[in-house]
Symmetry: C2
Subunit: 151 residues, 2 copies
């Protein structure tokens, strides 16, 4: 991915990809101690007796890693990946040693009526593990800027 | 918040609160360098010329801090805060020096038909800054366990 895209470059159905990115237990523990200190995220031994049967990543770490992959090419927009919100699902947990990749599909493009320099884009980003199992879906409302009016 | 709640203890309309939690520029920069390296999250000087007019937190940091507050009392469930997903919105950014607090309201409670030891609870968590402006809403689908059948 080298070219950076403006609103005019987008089309419904386009797919962008990024990854893989490995996730080790150490990063999962570090993130969870700070932001999601629950035993199934912070204590590998105790986690064995949880409903997950072992240590899993905080869903918010999965989301943060997905964001990193969006920046690295999963949403190659010239002025950045600017989200107003979206819908998240974690159908399956991320476990130590997993390797994540993403696919983002452009679902909808709506040029702004009040601000001609931008548009509202809906993008569905699916995060897969190394077995091609879905660990997260994120349907995000993004602001994407137009090339028109630039140099 | 001392008592930990089971499914039987919940009622629609209940509200739980947690915070405040200060967010300084250093934490915003550290998080963004790792997970959301965009200049309006990582470079205080350059951020001044962004659409935000200055440094702002990654929305995913706002979400992670909200999760921490949920653990600290914003969702005092006995077996943890276990989310299957939800809907996120960031109507206003978090800026350096902001202080966040949350209010969580129980919107819906549905005992599981297939698994009598748990239920599906919808909880809307609103994250406010020190000026009582909403910086995030999260309507989450949570799994909450029942007391029935325990010691």
């Amino acid at each position: 991915m080298t070219q950076k895209l403006y609103l005019e470059d987008l089309a419904v159905g386009q797919i962008y990809r990024a990854g893989p990115r490995a996730v080790e237990a150490e990063e999962m523990l570090r993130f969870a101690r700070e932001y999601d200190p629950q035993y199934f995220h912070t204590d590998p031994e105790a986690a064995k007796s949880s409903m997950f049967g072992g240590l899993i990543a905080s869903g918010w770490l999965t989301a943060a890693l997905t964001m990193r992959l969006l920046i690295e090419g999963g949403a190659p927009f010239a002025d950045g990946v600017i989200g107003a919100g979206g819908e998240l699902a974690w159908p399956r947990p991320v476990r130590p040693g997993d390797s994540l990749r993403i696919e983002s599909e452009v679902l909808n493009i709506a040029p702004s009526r009040s601000r001609p320099d931008r548009g509202n884009v809906i993008c569905k980003t699916t995060t897969f593990n190394q077995n091609n199992q879905v660990v997260q879906t994120l349907t995000a409302k993004l602001i994407v800027f137009a090339r028109a009016g630039r140099g």
